[in-house]
Symmetry: none
Subunit: 188 residues, 4 copies
DNA sequence: TATGAATGAGTGTTCATTCAT
DNA sequence: TATGAATGAACACTCATTCAT
């Protein structure tokens, strides 16, 4: 009996994610993904029950990965300002360096049936644990988790998405955003 | 000769926007839109050159509308804190009350070929004029336009999108966000 | 607006029926039918909602046609023996001359989902009216409708189906069957 | 070396027959049969060269079985009327109790390539031997084999197929049919 | 302007079968 | 013998678009 080829599955995932960045979710068909991954369309159905199931599964995987990466950038030794800087910078770097995965997640999260019952915030919980610790120690202000997540992540995403048409220097802009969020969140 | 029927065009737009909220961009076909709008598929091509052109055109219209509405909520008589509150509250209310249009814009904005060469920030310029005025008068802090837009809009969108799974009271959360942004942007 | 081309629909029906005789129900695809009928596969869906709906609709049409033809062979002026002879001979002739339609009906009638809720006997009712008249006049014996239909139709179908491998003369055989059924059904 | 597992082959056959009753020949795939039988699709090809060969082989087996069963119901001690009754009743009982097998045979018998070169009558030969004996002894009338088979089997099949929609009592109907065939075939 | 008919190209998915173990 | 992986070809069906009226 032939055994499962996990490299094949990896190629399928990567093709899907890359093509969705290039052509958009609506224009990425199973046949295109298969051709790009160098497998038969039927092979995709060995690994996934349906296109939607594939999208949903990879969507969840990618969502998790982002936050796992982000968490690895952080350590309890950092002071409050460093923590904010690392989150903002790390999240930005990730979205830019994993542009395809990021775009894929963004598109899936707007798509009914794929993102169903999945909240981005849930992945953020590991980071919340750290933030709570800082809040308990009086280093960060005591805002609600939802709003902390909202101001830490959403503006970065906004900047990452609009970065191509921005005239000014992106590092400078990001630096300013870090300052703003430090001012907002870190108890002086 | 019959004249162009603007009611028909309106119905087409509304059907498209509503169906994209319900089924997603990828699952909304010209035929479905036509059926929902009560016209023939061919009729849609009287008003638009192609599906993509239709998406792009309505996308631009909807994007503009959001900011027109937002601007109407604001007046130069407001003090700084009121200004921030109005922007945040107005934007939130709009996204919730025009859920379909908002979801439509979000989906299109990730879609290459539809959102091509269109930046959300461009629509924001009317509001920037007002903000610049407040900054000149020393009421608001002098952050870059990009970052001001980022912190004012993105967190609201984030909250609006995740509002269904939030345990806590949404008004309370929004109130806190307003306070945070007032603290951040308004010179005390 | 282009109008419906009923000749096209006729060709679709005929292709379907002919191909099902040649290849069997299970091996007759929509694409094959379309190719044979000289239309696009998509065109078939202008006239029918689905393959199953098409089968069911044409099945009903064909079933009805058989009995309409049969009824036309009969007249109240016939005596009892002539009536039996005409039914048997007419039914046999029809199945042989409309072999494709007959085979199509036979295959559909075994297929769950196509023949659902359709009884061959229902089409026979016009002929039953005539038979009842003969029974009332004491010309035919008073057997139940179901058994009269069973002995009049089923053996003919049986012979028609097995006619290729029969060694003996088919007309002679049919003649004998007529005699048997006259003996059975006509009061002497 | 493992030996051929006849239980496995039996399960494959049973699954095929059962599924074809439930879903129809056209909707019964090798994969479904394998899943239902609890084996791998590849295993089916250990026992059969192809799907068509499998259908043809099991079709022949099932056809034969019916007549073997029927023959067992009969004995030379019976008088003419008993013989007719036993054939009719036995055949009916068999079709009802082995509904799946019966439906399977019926569907295959219309399918070119499966039923090719196979006549139902051939299986009937054992019974013909007995019937010939009765004819020689002057108990049954001297009709041709084809017509005897036609009137004995086809009406029963007809009744069995339409039994669900019949309003009247099925035993009563079958009793009448027996009487009719006794009248027709047994020399008084 | 407005339309239902028509379509070639494509959709997601399953097919019967073979491969490698 | 027995299998899950793998597949090219086919499946039923829908797509965005154009045609003929």
């Amino acid at each position: 009996m032939r055994t499962r080829d996990y490299d094949k599955q990896r190629r399928i995932k990567e093709s899907m994610v890359r093509l969705i960045l290039r052509d958009g979710l609506a224009s990425t068909s199973v046949a295109k993904i298969a051709r790009d991954a160098g497998v038969s369309p039927a092979t995709i159905y060995v690994y996934y029950d349906s296109k939607e199931a594939m999208l949903a599964e990879v969507f969840r995987e990618c969502s998790r990965e982002t936050y796992v990466y982000l968490q690895q950038q952080l350590s309890p030794e950092m002071d409050g300002r460093e923590l904010i800087r690392s989150i903002v910078q790390g999240y930005y770097t990730y979205t830019v360096e994993h542009e395809a995965m990021f775009s894929f997640v963004e598109q899936c999260s707007r798509c009914p049936g794929v993102a169903q019952g999945f909240a981005e915030e849930d992945c953020f919980c590991g980071i919340f644990d750290l933030i709570h610790e800082y809040q308990r120690r009086g280093i960060l202000r005591q805002y609600s988790d939802e709003n902390v997540a909202a101001v830490l992540l959403a503006p970065v995403k906004f900047i990452a998405m609009n970065r191509s048409c921005a005239g000014r220097d992106i590092d400078e802009q990001l630096g300013e955003l870090v300052q703003m969020l430090q001012l907002l969140l870190v108890r002086q």
